[in-house]
Structure formats: structure tokens, C-alpha cells
Symmetry: C3
Subunit: 136 residues, 3 copies
């Protein structure tokens, strides 16, 4: 079963998708199986990370921004702005798809795990994440 | 079919899970399909890497430790110790889930591929890895 | 359903697999479900990235080569040449498996998404990528 989550994004950082994904699982009626997320973009990615302390999200963002800088003289793909090539690199270093087992109609996430969309571009975007659920 | 592997961890590094995963596959009776691993933590991750020369694991560990240092003045999430935020970053750069095709009741791993849990924290932990197997 | 793609590789960089994967999907006859790719190697990886401007592939390659250098004094796994340990590290930072939802007999890739094998070694290789398709 495939469905689609659309997320309105307003700049870089982590956006918590956990509740939206839970809703898609509820709608599917599937109680045991595998839920897969797939993001249909090359400058934003998926991440499962700590959902308790928002400092984790901030530190992740700042650390990755320092690793993958804008206006690097190495870049030749520069027509779409200084944040474009860094966004592709950040997406390549993180996940385009994630799979989470489902039991008793719930994802088997750990206590501190939230599901996030990690936006890497400055401009507002509407991002699409496919939700595939296999099972019964 | 979902099951669970528990692993007793005693500090950072790679822990070979291949045989434990093979046992779960045997128990399932599934001969053709897809096996997915999912780690229920945000400071440890999953990795498929060379299982022949242990120098690969050591070099991977040392390289990542140099890239993601402790006591970085950038970190604001510091309450849980100097290895906590580096562990979250290392987990974000590596895999929370992995999927491996199954045929003739065996995972289609390459000759040199082993499945590892990559622990990023100093303290001993018991880590949980979910095993989902779809197929027949 | 499992099948296999073999790719003749002639040095490092991105190799577009999208059409080869589409062919495997066509052969399967599956119209709705989940397609998973798994690379059977530890010194090459999988990537979904922009397929429009080849400068993106070149910049990705150059950026990663600068991050993960050859002849690093940190390496102890050096018997197989100066590009071997960097290749393992690059593979560890990128994907060994990718899952893409399928609907109406097509992968739900975004407009700009292509599927690539990312070779990290200098020598020519024949690389194997498993294709698993679940669904109906």
C-alpha cells in the first residue's frame, strides 16, 4: 500500500514527521509488516534521531553545515544558488529511504526515536515523502 | 515476521551480527524475500562492511572519531557526556535500517560482507535490533 | 522476486542504473509494491541523486575525495592499495541498500532522481546489485 505525505518546509533543519507517518499506518489497517519511507528529492533527506532534546537537532544541523560549506571553490554546479550543491552533498550523506518494522499496528521505534525530514535548502518548499506499507 | 536481536555492547566499535541474523532467518522458515534490520537507538547504527581484515573496522572507527570529535565547542547537547553528541552525529551519518534480499533461505550478502552493529558510546549497553522478514 | 544487475565499471564515479532497474521491474510484472536494491560490495555503494546536471556527480565525487583522502597516515589496512581503505570509508558513509515504492508498474522516483552505483575504487570491476521486488 502506497500513500504520500506532503510537508510544507520553511528553510533548513529537521521537521518531525512521526505523527504524520503514524496516521498513514493507521489508515492502512496493517498490523504487522514493514513500513518504508522514501523522499522524492535530492536536496532534502530522511533521518531517525532523538526527539527529546531539540539541542540535538540544532547541533546536527550546525555540525553538518560546518562539514559541507557554501561557496566552496570546489563546486562547479552553482547556478541554483550557494545552498544547492551543499544540499546535494548533505542528502548524499544521509538517507533517501528508511524501513521500520510494524507490530501490533505500531512502528517499532525506540523510546527516543523520531522520524524527521531534514531540509537542506534555504527556500520554502513543499516536499513529498512516499509511504509504503507491506504486511497484513 | 518480526523478531528481535539483543546485543551486549562493551564500548565503541563494530560488533558482528551476521550469525545472529542468520539464526533469525533460519527460525522464520522464509526461503525467498527481503530481510530488514532496524536499530532502535540514536547513538548506535548498522553497517555492512568487510569481515575479513579487522584492520578495516579499526581504521573506520579511527577515521570517524577524527571527523566527529568529542568536546567540540559547537555542541550544546552536552548533559549526557562528551561522547553523546558525537554518537548522535555518527549515527546520523550511517544507517538506522538495512535491507538484504533472501534466496534459497540465505541472505544474498557478497563474499566479503558482514553485518555489524556500530556502537558510538563509551558505556556498556544492551542494544536492540529488530529483524523483519517478508516473503515465503 | 529477486534478480541481479551486473555492471561493468571502469574507475571511480557515478554510474546511472535507472534504466537497468526499470527493466527488472518490467520483467517482474509487479505493479504495486516495494523495490529494494542491495549492492554486494564494500568498496562501492548506491546513491539516488540528481540526474540532470552532470556537474552534480562531479562535485559529489570531488568533495568526497577531499573528505576521505588516500595515503592517510591513520590507515593500517593498506595492502590492497592506496584507494582501498578510502573506498571502504566512502561506502560506509553512503548506502548499501535503497528501497523505492512502486505504483502503476513504475518506481515513484522524483522528477530529478536517478539511481546510481557509486564506484570508489580505481581498478575496473564487475559489480553486482541485487534487485528485490515485493508486491503484486
Amino acid at each position: 500500500m502506497n500513500s504520500d505525505i506532503k510537508v510544507s518546509i520553511n528553510g533548513p533543519g529537521l521537521y518531525d514527521l512521526t505523527h504524520k507517518v503514524e496516521k498513514e499506518l493507521d489508515k492502512s489497517g496493517i498490523r504487522s509488516g514493514l513500513l518504508t519511507l522514501f523522499i522524492r528529492h535530492t536536496s532534502a533527506s530522511l533521518l531517525i534521531q532523538e526527539n527529546a532534546d531539540s539541542a540535538v537537532a540544532r547541533d546536527l544541523e550546525n555540525w553538518l553545515n560546518r562539514l559541507v560549506v557554501e561557496n566552496d571553490s570546489l563546486y562547479t554546479h552553482t547556478q541554483e544558488g550557494p545552498d544547492d550543491m551543499p544540499a546535494h552533498i548533505k542528502a548524499a550523506l544521509t538517507a533517501v529511504s528508511l524501513s521500520i518494522p510494524v507490530e501490533n499496528a505500531e512502528m517499532l521505534l525506540g523510546t527516543w526515536q523520531g522520524i524527521f525530514l531534514w531540509e537542506h535548502r534555504h527556500m520554502p518548499h513543499v516536499r513529498e515523502v512516499c509511504v509504503n506499507i507491506m504486511g497484513e
